[in-house]
C-alpha cells in the first residue's frame, strides 16, 4: 500500500518534471555502461592476475620438482632412516625456498606399487592431504614427468582462499614413485583483485553520482529558460500583458524567448486594439444614445402638445396623430433594444446580481404582459413550485427575458393558452414558456434567436415587437451563465426554455425541465 503510494508519487514527479526524467535517464544509462565496462575490466584483470601467478607458480614448481628429483637421484644409500629423513627434509626446504609466498608441500606415495611402503609420506603441517583432489592425483600419475595443476579452494578458519595445486611424480630409488604436490595460496592475488574490484566499484559509484550531478546541472541550465517562459506565459494569461521573457545570446533558447516575446507583443497589441475598439464602440453607443434621446423627447412632447389640441384638429390629421404616436413609441422601443444589444456587443453590460424570488419575477412579468395577452385573448397558465424559488439574478434583465418570451408566445400563440412553468434543482432554475400556435420547422427554430428574423416574412408583426427581443433574451440568459433554447413543431406550437444557475458561478448541470414534448408524453400515458 505504502509502496504503491511511493511508486505513484515517484511516477507523478517523473510525469511533472522533465528534469527528473532527464537525470534519471542519464543515471540509469551510465550505470548500465559502467557495469558493462567494470565487469569487463574486472574480468580481464582477474584473468591476467591469475595467469601471471600461474606462470610463476609453474616456474617455481618446475624448479622445485627438478630439485627434489635430482636430490633423490643422487642418493646412493638405501638406508631406510636416511631416506626417511631426506624425504622429511624436502618439505621444509620447499616450503621456504620460494621467494614469493609460502607454499605447502606434500610428498605422497603413489598407491598401487609393489614395493612395500616403508617410508612415511611427509606433508606440510598446515596442509590437509584430503585437499588434494583425487582426480588430480590420477592425472599426475598418468602423466609422469610432467607438471599438472588444478585450482582449489583452501579453507581457512573463517572462509576460504583460492589456491593452486601443482603436482608431479618423483622417482625415489628403492621406495618407488612418489607424488610431489605444491599448494600455492593465491589470496594475495585475490586481495589485489578484490582491491581492484572495490576501486572499480567505488570509482563507478562516484562517477554515477557525478554524472547525475552533471545531468542535474545541465538540465537545470536547459530547463531554466523554459521554466521562465512558462511562468511569463502564465502571467500574461492572467492579464499582465506587458510581461516578457529576458533574452540572452543567439542560441535556440534565445530564439524561443524571442519568438515568445514577438508573439506576446502581437497578442498585446491585438488585445489593446480590441479593447480600444470596444471602448470606442461603447463611447459611440453612449453618444448615439444621448444624441437620439433629446430629439426623441422633443418629438414626443410635440405629439403630446398636438394631443392636447386633438379636438381642434381635422379628422384625418387626428388619425395621423395616432399613427405618429404609435410609430414613435415603436421607434423608441427599437432604439432601446438597439442600444441594449450594442451594449452587449461592446461587452459593456454590467449585470447587477441579487438573490431574488424567481416566482415573484414571473408574477411581475405576467402582470406586465397581461394587457397584451388580454388584447389577444391568450390565457396564461402558470405552474410554479409552491414555495419560493430563490435565484441569484439581475432582476431587471431576468424579468425582461420572461416578458420577451411571453410576448413572443402571445404573438405566435393564436389566442390559445400559454403555459409558463418554473422548476428548480439545487443547481439550476428552469423556466419554460409554451404556446400552442403555428409553431416552426426545425430549420426555422434554428434562426429564432437571430436579430430581426421572422419565421414568415409575409406575416407582419402585430404585437409591436422589435425583432430584437429574443436576440436580447439570449444575451440576457448568457450573462446569467445560463442557456435559452427553443423547441418547436409546425402547427403544434413552440417551447422556449430558460435555464440559469441558481447562484452565479455554479456549474449549469442538466436543466430541471425538459425542452421537448417528453413531459407532454408522460402526461398522456
Amino acid at each position: 500500500m505504502r509502496l504503491s503510494n511511493l511508486f505513484r508519487a515517484t511516477l507523478r514527479i517523473f510525469r511533472r518534471s522533465i528534469q527528473a526524467r532527464y537525470v534519471a535517464a542519464s543515471v540509469v544509462l551510465s550505470t548500465v555502461a559502467l557495469v558493462a565496462v567494470g565487469g569487463f575490466l574486472s574480468y580481464s584483470i582477474g584473468a591476467g592476475l591469475f595467469e601471471t601467478r600461474l606462470q610463476q607458480v609453474l616456474k617455481d614448481s618446475t624448479r622445485a620438482v627438478a630439485e627434489v628429483q635430482s636430490t633423490f637421484s643422487a642418493v646412493s644409500s638405501t638406508d631406510e632412516s636416511t631416506l626417511q629423513s631426506l624425504l622429511n627434509s624436502v618439505i621444509p626446504s620447499l616450503e621456504s625456498s620460494t621467494t614469493s609466498e609460502s607454499r605447502d608441500v606434500a610428498l605422497l606415495r603413489s598407491p598401487g606399487q609393489s614395493s612395500p611402503q616403508i617410508l612415511q609420506s611427509p606433508i606440510s603441517l598446515n596442509l590437509d592431504a584430503n585437499l588434494i583432489p583425487e582426480d588430480l592425483r590420477t592425472s599426475v600419475r598418468s602423466t609422469a614427468g610432467k607438471l599438472v595443476y588444478q585450482s582449489i579452494s583452501l579453507p581457512t578458519p573463517t572462509s576460504s582462499h583460492p589456491g593452486i595445486v601443482v603436482g608431479a611424480t618423483v622417482e625415489i630409488p628403492v621406495v618407488g614413485t612418489y607424488e610431489l604436490y605444491l599448494v600455492y595460496d593465491l589470496s594475495s592475488a585475490q586481495q589485489t583483485l578484490d582491491f581492484v574490484q572495490n576501486t572499480l566499484f567505488f570509482g563507478g559509484m562516484i562517477l554515477i553520482l557525478l554524472i547525475g550531478g552533471v545531468a542535474l546541472f545541465v538540465s537545470a541550465r536547459l530547463v531554466a529558460p523554459i521554466r521562465t517562459t512558462a511562468e511569463v506565459a502564465r502571467q500574461i494569461s492572467q492579464g499582465a500583458l506587458d510581461r516578457r521573457v529576458p533574452t540572452k545570446g543567439e542560441d535556440i533558447v534565445a530564439q524561443l524567448a524571442n519568438s515568445f516575446n514577438t508573439m506576446a507583443e502581437g497578442l498585446q497589441s491585438q488585445i489593446t486594439n480590441l479593447s480600444r475598439l470596444s471602448q470606442m464602440q461603447q463611447r459611440f453607443v453612449q453618444d448615439v444614445s444621448h444624441e437620439l434621446r433629446t430629439p426623441l423627447t422633443t418629438i414626443k412632447l410635440s405629439v403630446a402638445i398636438l394631443e392636447q389640441r386633438r379636438d381642434d384638429l381635422p379628422k384625418a390629421s387626428a388619425r395621423q396623430l395616432s399613427t405618429l404616436s404609435g410609430q414613435i413609441e415603436r421607434f423608441e422601443k427599437l432604439l432601446v433594444d438597439l442600444l441594449e444589444i450594442s451594449r452587449y456587443d461592446a461587452g459593456a453590460v454590467n449585470a447587477e446580481f441579487e438573490i431574488t424570488d424567481i416566482n415573484g419575477l414571473v408574477g411581475l412579468a405576467i402582470m406586465n404582459i397581461q394587457p397584451l395577452a388580454d388584447s389577444r385573448g391568450s390565457r396564461i397558465l402558470v405552474d410554479i413550485p409552491s414555495g419560493p424559488v430563490d435565484g441569484e439574478v439581475d432582476a431587471r434583465r431576468f424579468e425582461r427575458v420572461l416578458r420577451n418570451l411571453l410576448s413572443n408566445a402571445i404573438e405566435h400563440g393564436e389566442g390559445k393558452p400559454i403555459e409558463i412553468r418554473v422548476a428548480a434543482s439545487a443547481q439550476a432554475i428552469a423556466i419554460t414558456v409554451t404556446d400552442h400556435g403555428v409553431g416552426m420547422t426545425k430549420a426555422q427554430a434554428d434562426h429564432v434567436f437571430d436579430r430581426f428574423w421572422r419565421a414568415d416574412p409575409s406575416r407582419k408583426r402585430t404585437t409591436g415587437g422589435t425583432g430584437l427581443g429574443l436576440a436580447i433574451s439570449i444575451e440576457d440568459a448568457n450573462i446569467h451563465g445560463g442557456s435559452l433554447k427553443a423547441y418547436s413543431k409546425p402547427n403544434e406550437g413552440a417551447t422556449f426554455r430558460l435555464t440559469i444557475p441558481r447562484r452565479q458561478g455554479m456549474e449549469l448541470g442538466a436543466s430541471p425541465l425538459p425542452l421537448g414534448p417528453k413531459r407532454a408524453k408522460k402526461e398522456d400515458s
Binding site: P295, T297, E307
Partner: protein, 226 residues
C-alpha cells in the same frame, strides 16, 4: 394664479416643446438655455419649479442645482439623457428633488411636475407634530429644534412630516416614493436614500448615527423614538 416653471434646457426645440406642452397644461413658463442665465432668471422670476437639464453650457445642471439650493428649497426636477448612474446620484445629492430620463413619456413627465407642485397633504387636525427633539408646525411649514428654525426644502419637509405623522410605522422606500414623490409604481429607490441622507444632515446631531430618522435594516425608515 398659475404656477411659474423655469425651463433650463440648451436644446432650443426641446426647450420650446417643453414650454408649449406645459403652457398647454396651464402653467406659466420661462425658458433659458444655459447655466448662468438660469441663475439670474431664477433670482428675478422666483419660479415655483425648475426643470434642469444636466448637460448645459456655463455651469452644468448639477452646479446650478447646488447654487439654487444655497438660497431656496424650490422643487427641482433634473432632465437627464445620461444613463450614467453616478450623474443621477450627483444630481440628487446636489439637491434635486426628482429626475426624469430622456426620452420620457409626456404624461409621466407631467405627473412628476404636478406631484412637485401639489401642496403637501396633511392629516386632519394635526397642527403640530413632534419627532425626537424637533417640533413640526404643519400649517406654517416650519421645523424647529430648541426654538431654532431649520430650513428644509418642501420635499424634505414632506418626508419628515410623513414619518412624524405615524411615528410607530416603518415606511418602506416604495411607500415613501408613493407618499412623498407621488410615484404610482416602482421607481428608483435611490431617490429616497439620497434625500434621507440630505434630511439627516440638516436635522441630526450626528448624521452618521441618526436618532430622528432611523434606518430599519432591509425594510425602510421610521421616526426615531424620542
Amino acid at each position: 394664479m398659475s404656477k411659474k416653471i423655469l425651463v433650463v434646457e440648451d436644446e432650443y426645440a426641446l426647450n420650446e416643446s417643453l414650454r408649449d406642452f406645459l403652457n398647454g397644461e396651464g402653467y406659466e413658463t420661462h425658458g433659458v438655455y444655459d447655466g448662468a442665465a438660469a441663475l439670474s432668471a431664477f433670482a428675478t422670476l422666483e419660479p415655483d419649479l425648475v426643470l434642469l437639464d444636466v448637460m448645459i453650457p456655463n455651469l452644468n445642471g448639477i452646479e446650478v442645482c447646488a447654487k439654487i439650493r444655497e438660497t431656496s428649497g424650490v422643487p427641482i426636477i433634473m432632465l437627464t439623457a445620461l444613463t450614467d448612474q453616478e450623474d443621477v446620484i450627483r444630481g440628487l445629492e446636489a439637491g434635486a428633488d426628482d429626475y426624469v430620463k430622456k426620452p420620457f413619456e409626456p404624461a409621466e413627465f407631467l405627473a412628476r411636475v404636478k406631484a412637485r407642485l401639489r401642496p403637501i397633504p396633511t392629516l386632519e387636525g394635526a397642527a403640530e407634530l413632534s419627532i425626537g427633539p424637533l417640533t413640526i408646525d404643519v400649517a406654517g411649514h416650519e421645523v424647529r429644534r430648541d426654538g431654532q428654525r431649520i430650513s428644509l426644502t418642501p420635499l424634505e419637509f414632506s418626508l419628515l412630516q410623513t414619518l412624524a405623522e405615524k411615528p410607530k410605522q416603518v415606511f418602506s422606500r416604495e411607500m415613501l416614493l408613493e407618499k412623498v414623490w407621488g410615484y404610482q409604481y416602482k421607481a428608483d429607490t435611490r431617490l429616497v436614500n439620497v434625500h434621507v441622507q440630505r434630511l439627516r444632515s440638516k436635522i441630526e446631531d450626528d448624521p452618521e448615527n441618526p436618532t430622528i430618522v432611523v434606518t430599519e435594516r432591509g425594510v425602510g425608515y421610521k421616526a426615531g423614538q424620542a
